[in-house]
Amino acid sequence: MKVTFPHMGNIYIAAKALMDGLGVEYVIPPFTNKAALEIGSLHSPEEICLPFKIMIGNYMQAIEQGADTVILTGSCGPCRFGEYCEMQMNLMKRLGHNLDFIVLDVPLDIGAKELLNRIGKVSGASTKTKAQKLKAAVDAFKVMHLIDDIEAKARFLTGYEATKGAFKRLLNSCKAEAMNCKTPEEMLKLLYDYRSRLDKVKTDKNKKPIKIAIIGEIYTIIEPFSNLYIEDKLMDYGVSTKKTLTPSWWYKNLVLSPLKLNQLEIKRKARDYLPLGIGGHARECIGEAVLAHDEGFDGAIQIFPMGCMPEIVSKAILPKISREKDFPIMTLVVDEMTGEAGYVTRIEAFVDLLERRKNNVLSGC
């Protein structure tokens, strides 16, 4: 068995730690690139959303390297993501690839027994002892949290950095070095080391950077290729960014949701505008917009793939928040286009807008 998985932000780092710990053979697909998108759009249904196409591209490129099993998270939630696993299984079969899909889903939907059964498929391929397997899982979760933590911190502190590009350089080298680690222990040590190194980067606390919250559909805000590397671009402009939705957030949300204890604050913030979950992460998007305003952010950018139903609903609600709270929100819809000109224009103009607003307010004091 040679396992692979679709890319989504930093998940590949945690997946590497897990598979190394389990001693299971795996393939990390090449980082999502134009070729993956081209392959994906060639085979996918025309009107499906962008994540589907990119994921198919990831599988195909992983197959070239010998992958035969795909691990994927499922969702019976009311958006098209719920259909991804079934559709992708069919599609890959039709293309003549005999892939084994292991779809991990919440016990509420598939039953605890079935979940254990599916996990057993992966861990069965490992020759390690039960205790070692458990440790591998725990280490992988730690890695996920750490890398999400490091990334969030680096992106937020960028606005305060004394030397331009210091945080970006640190973040990039952290990710690159993590991939050279042979064991999960080595990787954890590296990540702890990088996390403390973040605190040593010289910052200027007197700076008043532009702060932007990235909100919207989870895949397109996490997978950098799909949003044309918006966070890296904003880092280059010296803008501090924050995004709440991350793989580790997603996991926490999943565990807490049966108890209805998940993301209480976001739900509370969203109540005035969207009191119901309508699928996807629409309610989170609304809640985060309000939260970002309350936390003193200068603006928010909503990103979603074309045709994303939940986010279309939140897009229609955001202007009201924007008006009532005097809080600029820009929406970017991403699709197969890789031409960046129009996209960069919007981002630059939005940053300009926030900057000028800020200066204007200050001059009025």
């Binding site: 090449p30 980082f31 690139n33 134009k34 070729a35 331009k164 590009g165 970006k168 350089r169 990039n172 590397y229 890296d232 880092m235 280059d236 074309m306 202007p319 924007s322 600029p328 819809v333 699709d335 286009m337 000109a341 129009g342 960069v344 224009t345 919007r346 630059e348 103009a349 939005f350 300009d352 807008l353 000028r356 607003r357 204007n360």
Partner: protein
Amino acid sequence: MYYLGVDVGSVSTDLALIDKDMNLIDSLYLRTKGRPINAIQEGLKLLKDKNSNMEIAAAGTTGSGRHIASTIIGADIIKNEITAHAVAALEIDRDVKTILEIGGQDSKIIILRNGVVTDFAMNTVCAAGTGSFLDRQAERLEIPIEEFGDYALKANTSVRIAGRCAVFAESDMIHKQQLGYNDSEIIRGLCEAMVRNYLNNVGKGKEIVPKVFFQGGVAANKGIKAAFENALGFEVIVPKNHGMMGAIGAAIIARDAVAKTGRTKFKGFDLTDSKLVSTSFECDGCSNKCEVVRINENENIIGYLGDRCGKWSNKIAI
């Protein structure tokens, strides 16, 4: 002491030369024809020939080709066209509250309050509300685009044409032609369809209040201006240099930037005699496989564009 603004758009490349009192000394409108380097070089040559002995104190670029333009001329600032348009409009009138801008491939709306941009929007995936669409239809009707507006004003009634999509608008228009409507009625219908599409699409959810400026190449079209005034119910002002606003804005921002830095990076007019060649290659440094463009001036490499990590263009942080 003059300030130069270069706006490299999809359809046209505009160059504006302003003096320190913000008077437009000279302006050029050239077709980009998909070859921005040639257009910029040609533009500079024409400017040089017309105005001898001028000294450029600052240069700025804008438009979708602003990065390549900056590499070539050595710009002090590279600014997006939304900010450039807003700055140019505010220079004319501090009270402007809305800017409608329709160019060749894109259309924008900019909302300003108290002299600050507070909101903006650009057309998304569809080009139905842009100059290219009108160009295409003018061609089909065999009417010069310059006379398009006059035709629209001649009509007493208008024909309703679906403006949602350029392709469907065209078939709708053909259908109406077959029914026997005359050219001016059809053209007025087209103008109204385009305005309707613009307001429903780009202007959706935006509060459009006077003073409204109408800028961009399409503002020359009287039919569209009239259709806007009809739909909005108040006067729409077309500034004198409506087609040059992007370039003027870039020049103004460049002037302000140089006032801070003290000296310009502008390379001078000698480059009109240089041989500029661009070649592209696929970088194989990582799986991104960026298509990198290299620009040579004579024998020297003057810049790289298109690499994401900055390995070639020496942007910050790899």
